[in-house]
């Protein structure tokens, strides 16, 4: 276990290194000049040059990347070009909102997706099954921003059940989480259904039935834990999808998370922030996958961490 963790951590570090290198290279190739963003429109060429030097942006790529890495090792993500504050501080201040949203979204998709999938699998072939699956398809196929705008319009503007935007109480969380969750819920419903149908065909379910167990016990105790495994693995991958979706959903709902931060930074070529957010996201994804892998043996004792 320890060895496994150690190895996974090394792998993760390498992945993060790769991510940082690629992002850094992409940003280096960007035609837009960050210095011009900082210097503003009244700057003299002298000022521009000064700033370029100050930021080390006149250095060759390798040198710049090396500087970035060495600082990164000590946890220093640099300072935002535009905001001038520590990227770490900016991200830390916005991360809770994004994490909250992510947790909300995961809850939504698990709650909706898993129960839909479960019901559909148990009622396989019936009208319930079919309508649930069509619903899940719609969920998978709906563009997030359309869903977001629609939910906003119906539940916040028209019905006033939830606030229109912003951040703070659980009521603020509902609509954005739902928006992010619906897509995943569709996937999970389908995955859960097929996984569950598969599990319900297994010999051990037959054994459980042969023992005369009640239906509930068979479904929830015998089938569910087996069926949920592929879903757990998905949650890790999901985090990557969320990190993308966050940009859209946060902007629709004015949610103060890192998605908005990233989007603003991209608009203004604020490289340290883009780097920071990318790395944090990549870290979250890697961590999510790691967690999924670590949780798996607790659900399925056959799985050994090796």
């Amino acid at each position: 276990m320890i060895a496994y963790l150690g190895r996974r951590l090394i792998q993760s570090a390498l992945i993060l290194l790769g991510v940082s290198l690629i992002t850094f290279a992409l940003l280096y190739l960007l035609p837009a000049d960050p210095v011009r963003q900082i210097a503003g429109r009244s700057a003299t060429p002298q000022t521009v040059e000064n700033i370029r030097q100050q930021l080390g942006l006149d250095q060759p790529f390798i040198v710049q990347y090396w500087h970035y890495l060495t600082k990164l090792v000590s946890g220093d993500l640099g300072r935002s070009y535009i905001q001038r504050s520590e990227v770490t501080e900016l991200i830390v201040s916005r991360l809770p909102a994004s994490l909250l949203l992510m947790v909300g979204a995961i809850l939504c998709e698990l709650l909706i997706g898993l129960s839909m999938g479960l019901i559909a699998a148990v009622k396989r072939g019936t009208a319930t099954d079919q309508s649930l699956m069509v619903a899940s398809f719609v969920g998978v196929s709906a563009p997030q921003f359309v869903v977001g705008l629609l939910l906003l319009y119906v539940f916040a503007v028209r019905l006033s059940w939830f606030p229109i935007g912003g951040y703070g109480t659980w009521r603020h969380l509902v609509l954005p989480s739902l928006t992010m969750g619906i897509l995943g819920a569709g996937w999970y419903a389908r995955m859960m259904r097929s996984s569950m149908i598969d599990v319900l065909r297994q010999d051990y379910v037959r054994t459980a039935r042969a023992k005369g167990l009640a239906r509930g016990a068979i479904i929830f105790r015998h089938a569910l834990p087996n069926a949920i495994l592929p879903v757990i693995a998905m949650i890790g991958i999901d985090i990557g999808i969320f990190m993308g979706g966050i940009v859209v959903v946060e902007s629709v709902f004015g949610w103060p998370g890192i998605g908005q931060l990233a989007w603003q930074a991209i608009q203004r070529v604020d490289i340290p922030i883009i780097m920071g957010v990318t790395l944090v996201s990549a870290f979250a994804i890697v961590l999510g996958n790691l967690l999924a892998d670590i949780i798996a043996p607790f659900i399925d004792p056959r799985i050994k961490l090796r």
């Binding site: 991510v19 992002t23 563009p143 997030q144 705008l149 503007v157 999808i241 859209v248 996201s281």
Partner: protein, 288 residues
């Protein structure tokens, strides 16, 4: 005698109600895209003088503009029809390229173990760790967006999942006994790959292909929504929504119709893909 494999896939597809619905939708969209010039009397980019109110507001659907006009006074129906071209091109090209890269990487990594395989898979892991949309945004910023660039960006982002799936499948195929059997009769890697592994991957590739189209169309829409998609005035369903999204209350038709179009197309491909998955799955063969 049971049906020969793949013979009758089409027939079985058509027999499923949902798949049929999907096929019909795709057919409608394709027809709309191809026949756009004959279906509407307007030019997709023509900003009509009578397409806006005096105050500059778009017109709701009426007899003249069936689906209303957009913020520049263009006929929305026409733009949606022409936008279908973009969305389909992106869906097919981007997805095709993604599928190709994904299959190539997945098969190579899955069949050839050793350093090539693990290097490829580590790279895939790395790409998985990228927040996809963020990567797309960065890429879109580096290359100035055009239809083809957007397609390539989407492909570069989307091949990863395919590679993963194909990898898993290839490595389990490579473990199958009949592959061992091929080796014992002296079959070389090319033969095994092309004659024996690829045909088995075909259902997966087809299914991912169809499912991927919907993902791709959605991603293009999202990129357009963020203003880094296909360039105006070229219409794509995504950028129609993007241009008009703030009007979703004042002029809901501007978001509703293209949104419904995206949903319908994505839904259609999902339905087809799902049905294909069932039909092509050998373990399902012979089942009712």
């Amino acid at each position: 005698m049971p049906a020969k494999p793949r013979a009758g896939v089409w027939r079985r597809l058509v027999k499923r109600r949902l798949a049929l619905l999907g096929l019909v939708i795709v057919a409608i969209v394709v027809a709309g895209a191809v026949l756009a010039p004959w279906l509407t009397g307007y030019d997709p980019n023509e900003q009509m003088f009578d397409g806006l109110t005096i105050e500059g507001s778009p017109l709701p659907p009426d007899a003249k503009f069936w689906l209303g006009t957009d913020l520049l006074g263009r006929d929305l129906l026409t733009r949606i029809l022409y936008g279908a071209r973009t969305s389909l091109i992106i869906g097919i090209v981007a997805n095709g390229v993604a599928l190709f890269i994904g299959t190539l990487v997945g098969v190579t990594a899955g069949y050839f173990r050793g350093w090539i395989g693990s290097a490829l898979m580590r790279f895939t892991d790395l790409m998985m760790a990228f927040p996809a949309l963020l990567l797309a945004i960065c890429l879109a910023a580096v290359f100035q967006p055009s239809l083809w660039i957007v397609a390539m960006v989407i492909a570069l982002v989307n091949w990863v999942q395919t590679a993963r799936v194909i990898y898993t499948e290839t490595s389990s195929l490579a473990e199958r006994e009949f592959i061992d059997a091929e080796r014992t009769i002296g079959a070389g890697a090319p033969r095994i790959l092309f004659r024996h592994i690829l045909p088995h991957l075909l259902p997966t590739i087809i299914v991912w292909g169809t499912l991927g189209i919907s993902t791709t169309v959605l991603l293009e829409a999202t990129l357009s929504f963020l203003g880094i998609g296909v360039q105006p005035p070229t219409a794509s369903w995504g950028n129609i929504i993007f241009e008009n999204q703030t009007y979703f209350q004042a002029a809901p038709w501007l978001v509703f119709f293209p949104g419904a179009a995206i949903l319908a197309l994505a839904l259609a491909f999902n339905l087809i893909g799902d049905a294909l998955r069932d039909i092509l799955d050998p373990t399902q063969r012979g089942r009712a």
